[in-house]
Symmetry: D2
Subunit: 271 residues, 4 copies
């Protein structure tokens, strides 16, 4: 793949390990990152965080800024949400990820979050990529839902050229003609990217499948194919979720799934 220099495995054969508050992501490891899609209240977040922490998640997810197709949908709690996430971080000793949507908000979000996320709609928002690159903080870069792998890696190159090598790539499904899932998880992208790049690759089974019952099977596939982790929506009361409740696992389902994943990793010598 042309135009890739810093993120290319050819130029950097060893796996990059991104370490965030003691949690190492990359190489042979596998890290579960979980929590509600959006922070809605302190109670909702803490209930989720406690459950996913207990079941083995090492990183907390929960967004305070939500990009929504319609201007009339819930847009997130903003700074108040970040404050709640920061409290949960202390309570459960888990670093947290939060999405950032606007270059002007990068400083604010980076002052709270441990990992900044660039969402699928912003994969080619080059100003935003450069701005998160400048912070030096760990960045989760979601694949654009119609980006090729090559374009996705070129977007990572934008972050890396700002001097920031702490990039986590997230495969979250691409847009196809199939309608039985929200997006089509391109599971082959995991080995394709791991061959082309030294960066860790995470799978998001929630936004790809779009249905609760697909999350555990897709997560098992992610573990078996060699992903470095998963990013999972978990909600204690999905029927009341303001965003994407249909794809959120219940805490018990998450715990059961984590057991299967542990056994798969052990079977493959990655425990």
């Amino acid at each position: 793949m042309q135009s890739l220099q810093l993120v290319s495995r050819e130029n950097h054969p060893e796996d990059t390990i991104v370490t965030v508050r003691g949690v190492a992501i990359g190489g042979d490891g596998f890290v579960a990152m979980a929590g509600p899609c959006a922070v809605e209240s302190r109670d909702q977040l803490f209930e989720s965080a406690e459950a996913v922490h207990k079941a083995g998640a090492r990183v907390l997810r929960g967004d305070a800024f939500k990009p929504r197709t319609s201007p009339y949908s819930f847009q997130g709690l903003k700074e108040e949400g970040l404050q709640i996430l920061a409290e949960a971080r202390e309570e459960f000793d888990m670093p947290f990820i939060a999405e950032v949507l606007d270059p002007r908000d990068v400083e604010l979000v980076a002052s709270y979050a441990d990992i900044l996320r660039i969402g699928t709609r912003n994969m080619s928002n080059y100003s935003l990529l450069q701005e998160v690159g400048k912070t030096g903080k760990a960045v989760q870069l979601k694949r654009g839902f119609t980006a090729t792998v090559e374009e996705w890696l070129a977007a990572a190159e934008y972050i890396a050229t700002e001097g920031n090598p702490n990039i986590l790539l997230v495969e979250r499904g691409i847009r196809t003609f199939e309608t039985s899932t929200r997006n089509t998880l391109d599971i082959a992208a995991v080995p394709v990217v791991r061959q082309a790049s030294h960066l860790p690759v995470i799978v998001d089974p929630s936004h790809s499948g779009g249905r609760r019952e697909l999350v555990a099977p897709l997560s098992r596939a992610a573990a078996a194919i060699g992903a470095n982790g998963i990013l999972v929506d978990v909600h204690p009361h999905p029927e009341d979720a303001k965003v994407d409740g249909a794809q959120a696992l219940l805490p018990d389902e998450f715990a059961e799934m984590m057991g299967d994943i542990g056994r798969i990793l052990e079977a493959l010598g990655r425990a």
Copy 2:
């Protein structure tokens, strides 16, 4: 289509006409917007502008900020490019369009350009949509290359909710499995959008086809199907173009095409 209010034809049956420096876009009219993909120098822009003006284009295109897949590609002349465009506007009495990529640049670009363009990669960059909405200036909103028509109109709604009704929608091709063209021009989107919305719809035959020899046929189709205009790359020396030379028409080809389009519009009573 749900979640559409301001841009929906149901709520606003009459066609919106966007008028920019005396050029009316929308309704039964058809406006050619043309020029080089990127401003590279004063000479290059003036040569293009003179040619397209002479052949009947009413609006000048030419970008000063270019979103590029690779961070190592030419990124545009920035403010210097906008100054050259502003000079050409006076010389040829044509309003000009320029792309804006970052909410922090909106004020700058809006201080020069007559029409602000949101490119395909930024269709779902909601901060940017809101920022251009606030300027009140005419906005060209390109369809995301994997957006549905419904998502495209919802993005227009983000601009409209800021109080800005001066929106031009640009169909520029979607991503499919076909490789003989750069993107697949979704020509049916023109009547679909004109039925669903009162906003003008423009076709970009250059970025969809991606090949010089397809631009004239696609432009004729756009005129015949009922588009309100076209947005065309024209370059006096495409072999030297820094961006997208393969799809730029030569000035003579543009003039010949404009003749055919005029005859089609006349045949349909839209002259």
Copy 3:
């Protein structure tokens, strides 16, 4: 494009003209082919045929064998349908097209029909392609709804290698993520194919758009871009149609559209 020999324009620069019962298809000409999607009864077919004949269609369409996604849907009148079509041919002096689905039915269908159609689902049914190739009869080859242009031309090559050069290519839309139309009409395929091959190219606005109100706009685009004809569903009582009523034009709408198309062709010197 590799692997193309007989259908390649490089090896055969002149346009192929396919002549069927005195109707010449190809070159600068434009032929409307119209009628109901499926023959349902003698009355229904004759009413359609009379209307489309009067409005300027030169070839009658109407299928007797229907490929249906579900085994429980109406599958066509079979030989009885072919007999009705043959009667209509005499009554209105129009050659007719009929789809053939099975290599074992080719002899039967060819004993009635003037043009054999290979539907989109069978574009890569090589046994069927070879069998229709052997008849020497004119063949309409629809593009597979997920075939590339190159694969479509390679399928035509299968017919041509049997010694049959009488091939009409039909662009009928491809499958994409867009849901506001049944398929996405790849209008650029018309000039792409006409450049790569000497064979005539027809556009099917009915199966691509899938909605009545899109048929006239798409047909105008087809005429303007340089197609050699259109293939249109027309039904006198679409609300009662057994197949695809939502996309069938009423006879009056068809006549009005034919007027516009005539004016576009005249404007382009193709009258």
Copy 4:
């Protein structure tokens, strides 16, 4: 999903187990089916068959009729190939699968093969589906590379309505815009289909990935997600293969992969 009756899990809650010469496919089991893409010679097939048998494959693959995009490509050894496959069956005590392309060949292929395969290009070739349905033999039905899951199941319904319940569904990748793989393996289709239908689901990692190094990772994912088996190209000398050598595993790679799969199945209690 409408229009599904016989293949729907709602109407038939228990898993279907298809048994072929003592090999049971379906339920909690996992069966590896492997061999060369095409039979090229007795030596080539026997060498492959011996290797895959030794490594734990239970069903032999190897085609005698090949559907090729170009009429000028190798089309298979036909009956001679079937005879070689039948000999290998006796030698290694493995049932074999062979593709059938034409309804007129069904009787011939069924007189040799244990499992008939309908390839991706023929998923909607309803005559062929009905003909294989009539034989009562086990049928592998590949998903059309642009079929939705619902259409794929409806195609299975065509086989089932002929009284044949012995259907194995094969997910082999769908066509998308991504070019780093041959097709995009829709791994989520495995749980989606297993929820909607009682039929076994097999994954083809070779035709989806299209590259040797992706076959083992994709096969591990298939085992972990709950597929009932895999269908893998293995060739002793892929550099000399007449068809699809780039995606064929070497025998040693296949054996190593089978070890990993065994450990994953055991970890999930499916050993």
